[in-house]
Symmetry: C2
Subunit: 375 residues, 2 copies
């Protein structure tokens, strides 16, 4: 173990603002230059004599920011003109209702792949509005085999969660369904960390608070031909078509969150875009999974290797009693927020776009050292 | 006219951050100390090595902030224990749906007082879910006479908008209804500027972006015995009871907005609380209405004097052609965002809690001077 590195980490932590390495699952780490720009420009936006928080969302400045944010997303993810980009509120949980309310149309059933807590929640919410056909092989350790996914032609849509944040599972393939069945995905926790094929995906949505910005913003990218299917009793604010027609300004949008997301997009482009993020995600997660795999069973990750999430590395200690000590010692080394989700326990290292590769390296070194000392 | 004051205003504007006087209707002006604290603490929250934007909302720090924000609101508005305070997303527009979805129960009809654009919108949305009984005397220049409000015993609730932001009307009395009918009010634009009688009001809601904080946060204060009436097809995220049971943490809340609102509450308490805000609102609005009334008809406000809003002073120029020049000259004097709402035109000065009384004085002096020069 490279003690020097860790000692430096423990003593001085990062030089920039005394930063820790923050492995929180979301709200999660944001790029330092974005945080610094937000702080610098918050009290007086570009010499206007007021904060951006105090400006009309229909004024020239914010109108330009929201338009540019959509354009930047389109560029970063190669979103084709067939798809609309919406910037909404309410998080993934509200999308669990909005997806069926907007896409069911005359259909009576939708298909859900359930292999973790988030897809399970989404399927339960859809059950309020239609029959739900659970397909694939629900499991906490693997994603279903592609051949096990058989979607009926009359399904309103096929839904899956690309990355299960709590369970640490990530799809490494795109589920197939009949051409007439729209494919929908919750991409909250791997949004902007990998390309998305919009020829295959009719709708994706993401809560901002993992890879895109502060909590309070939700992005929906939806094929335009699917707008207008919502019924009369769909609340107006839950109707994608309404938001599409108003450029995501049907009502006052979450101005600060959109401004922050705009800066995150610019940071991403500056760093090299989604392909670079994709490579870094591979590098970071390999470092941490490496520490697990080389630990002779001291650390345990039961996920099928092909389905391991690059965003959320979930693991336990063979000796569960050491978990608390692990969290404490890691904290002393400036490695924080490693506790697993309250529903599953254990440990979890979330490795979002803004986590420096160095952070994953320091964590993997700490893990190796901890295993030697306590193994 | 005190030319010196205006010259100082035009030349140097406010000393704090080169501030303008911002009369935007919402998002609107925020207290300078709050903006400065947000900027100062944004990159590294109290030496934790991370921004509050990056922290788990279930961690000790944010949990304390959201709890304290509710406590501060309870203190500021004397909210009794009969009522629950919810911090949500989606703005007033989402409340237009949530109110009927949560309060209708087995009732088939709700009563709405419609006397402006916001109450009209609310009534239209409720029409998706029940019969809507429009009562009172819809008018753009007055609120209905108390005697004209007759609510049937079987109405699910009586709804009114306490202050019509676009039309510049504010209720100066509490509409009466049978004891068995809950009274609901949209208090978005005069929230925290006057006391609210919770013996009479069963539910009030407010978008934060006028008097409470940045856009992206909505506060709902609801009588606890009304929770649990939502039907099975109510989206989970639209169910007050769900948010009540989870302390407004059913999903990730808009962390930044709640933090900012927390600081606004502390600023309000420090300034003397809602009673002081109530007095200042009277002082500010008297200054601007005074400039209108003393202008010999150069400025026109058609609202019945007893129903004039203290928050949003709406007026036109007798010579409409001068409107653009008024806006331009006011801007040159550091008095900005005075254009009326795009739906009604004219001019509007929004005078929220964070607008210094001095700002209203400078505006009234500018108005008098402009009238002399162009009258």
């Amino acid at each position: 173990m490279e003690g020097g590195r860790l000692e430096k980490q423990a003593g001085g932590r990062s030089k920039v603002m005394n930063r820790v390495y923050n492995f929180a699952p979301g709200p999660g780490v944001l790029p330092v230059p974005v945080l610094e720009q937000l702080a610098r420009e918050l009290p007086d936006y570009h010499g206007t004599g007021m904060s951006i928080l105090e400006m009309s969302h229909r004024g020239a400045i914010f109108t330009q920011i929201i338009r540019e944010t959509r354009d930047l997303l389109r560029e970063l993810l190669n979103v084709p003109e067939t798809h609309e980009i919406l910037l909404l509120q309410g998080g993934g949980h509200l999308q669990f209702a909005m997806v069926p309310l907007n896409l069911l149309g005359a259909a009576a059933e939708a298909s859900y792949i359930v292999n973790g807590i988030w897809s399970k929640k989404a399927a339960a919410e859809a059950g309020k509005f239609c029959r739900v056909n659970i397909i694939g092989t629900p499991s906490r350790s693997q994603i279903p085999h592609p051949d096990s996914i058989n979607v009926p032609n009359d399904a309103a849509y096929l839904y899956y969660c690309m990355n299960e944040t709590i369970n640490g599972l990530e799809f490494n393939y795109i589920p197939s369904c009949p051409d007439c069945v729209p494919l929908v995905s919750d991409v909250s926790s791997d949004f902007l960390s990998r390309p998305i094929d919009f020829k295959r995906h009719a709708l994706v949505f993401a809560g901002a608070q993992k890879n895109f910005g502060p909590a309070g913003l939700t992005v929906v990218i939806v094929r335009k031909d699917l707008l207008g299917l919502a019924g009369d009793t769909c609340p107006t604010m839950l109707n994608y078509e309404v938001h599409s027609q108003s450029g995501s300004m049907y009502n006052t949008p979450p101005v600060f969150c959109i401004w922050a997301a705009n800066l995150v997009c610019k940071w991403l482009l500056n760093e090299g875009g989604v392909d670079v993020m994709n490579e870094r995600a591979a590098t970071r997660s390999k470092l941490v999974y490496g520490a697990i795999d080389k630990s002779d069973g001291f650390y345990v990750n039961t996920i099928d290797p092909s389905a391991r999430s690059r965003m959320n590395v979930v693991f336990t200690l063979r000796e569960e009693a050491l978990t608390e000590l692990f969290v404490k010692e890691a904290g002393d080394h400036g490695l924080v927020n490693l506790k697993g989700h309250r529903l599953v326990g254990g440990l979890r290292a979330s490795l979002y776009n803004a986590m420096p590769v160095e952070g994953a390296r320091v964590l993997s070194e700490f893990m190796a050292d901890f295993a030697v000392r306590h193994g």
